[in-house]
């Protein structure tokens, strides 16, 4: 059945107009979002946050996400931001990686051995992300924009967004630069414009029903570059954080409403 479910390009009769198709797909997505099991992963993420592990046998309960050690309320909505202890701008996942090193004593190799998980076994970053992000529901999105390194990160992110590169000459704007465009049936938000970035950034990370997987922004950057036919961006690197920073800053002022649900 999996083959049929995941591989087949099924074709419908041309009786339905394009508009009807779009309307019905909208309805599908709404019903899917209403019946999403995303909340289950917040529970698993919470347990992982509190679990002591690594050579230092530490949990994340002392991890400072920018609002003070262990403070979760609103922390996600204020990322990415500059961290003095690391002297760099970090998004949630880069910061979690930092805490795995400092509080749990884990090596980068150990901590990043499996950054993107599967439906059978979500990764630590996925479970932690969905739990931490859930603690920012109802908080306004305000990433750091004051420190010079925060400004530089935002600028780099915007330059990357329009930078054409790779075997197929794409930039992020190739797909997300013009209004009213789709890939297959997927509408493409124009992510450098606030009115499009706001609802999108307010709903990441997310549970993706089609693959039963939790997906994070680091995964989203990674998989976009995969489809842009470039080499792979390193997890939590300045490049990925800068893009996430640019997108989040473009969405600032929006109330965070995630974790979300994707088709």
């Amino acid at each position: 059945m999996r083959l049929a479910v995941f591989g087949a390009a099924l074709v419908f009769s041309c009786a339905a107009s394009g508009q009807d198709v779009a309307k019905e797909i909208q309805r599908y997505r709404q019903m899917v979002a209403e019946g999403s099991p995303a909340e289950l992963f917040e529970l698993e993420g919470e347990a992982l946050w509190k679990k002591a592990q690594g050579p230092k046998n530490g949990s994340f309960e002392r991890c400072d996400l920018g609002e003070g050690p262990g403070v979760l309320k609103g922390a996600y909505a204020h990322l990415p931001r500059y961290f003095k202890d690391a002297d760099r701008v970090m998004d949630l996942e880069a910061r979690l990686l930092y805490c795995m090193s400092t509080l749990q004593g884990r090596s980068r190799d150990d901590a990043t051995a499996r950054v993107f998980g599967s439906a059978d076994r979500p990764s630590e970053f996925e479970l932690l992300s969905i739990y931490v992000a859930g603690q920012s529901r109802g908080v306004r999105i305000e990433p750091g924009m004051a420190h010079p390194k925060e400004k530089a990160s935002y600028e780099l992110g915007r330059a990357l967004f329009f930078h054409r590169v790779g075997a197929w000459d794409f930039s992020c704007a190739s797909c997300h630069g013009e209004e009213g465009k789709r890939i297959r049936m997927q509408e493409l938000p124009v992510l450098y414009k606030p009115q499009y970035a706001r609802p999108v950034m307010a709903s990441w990370p997310a549970y993706r029903v089609s693959t039963s997987q939790v997906i994070t922004l680091q995964w989203r950057m990674n998989d976009c570059y995969r489809q842009m036919r470039t080499p792979e961006p390193t997890f939590g690197s300045e490049t990925t954080v800068a893009l996430i920073h640019f997108l989040t800053a473009t969405a600032r002022g929006e109330t965070y409403g995630g974790p979300g649900n994707k088709r």
């Binding site: 059945m1 999996r2 289950l40 698993e44 439906a119």
Partner: protein, 104 residues
Amino acid sequence: MAAGPMKMRANLGSGFTDVRVLMTHPMETGLRKDPDGKIVPQHFIQNLTVKVNGKTVIDAQISQAVSRNPVFSFRLKGGAKGDKIEVSWLDNHGESAAIEAAVA
């Protein structure tokens, strides 16, 4: 994936109680292959029971065609705040789990 946590909400609506229950379960069809090309054995919930204050109100039998990490919504007649709702499941491996919540 082993069966993981469950979650449930039971809310008083107009004339009925809305019950929404989420369960972590792979719901393997037995037709899917893993990345190494090996068939993943069938593993799915077969029975589901909903009880109100200890009395069974819904008995369900389901197949492997229910989606992974199943989510069900049910409606119970009337109801009152504090009514105890219990949902339990049993799968084809004999594993089971249950969750309880009070109507809010």
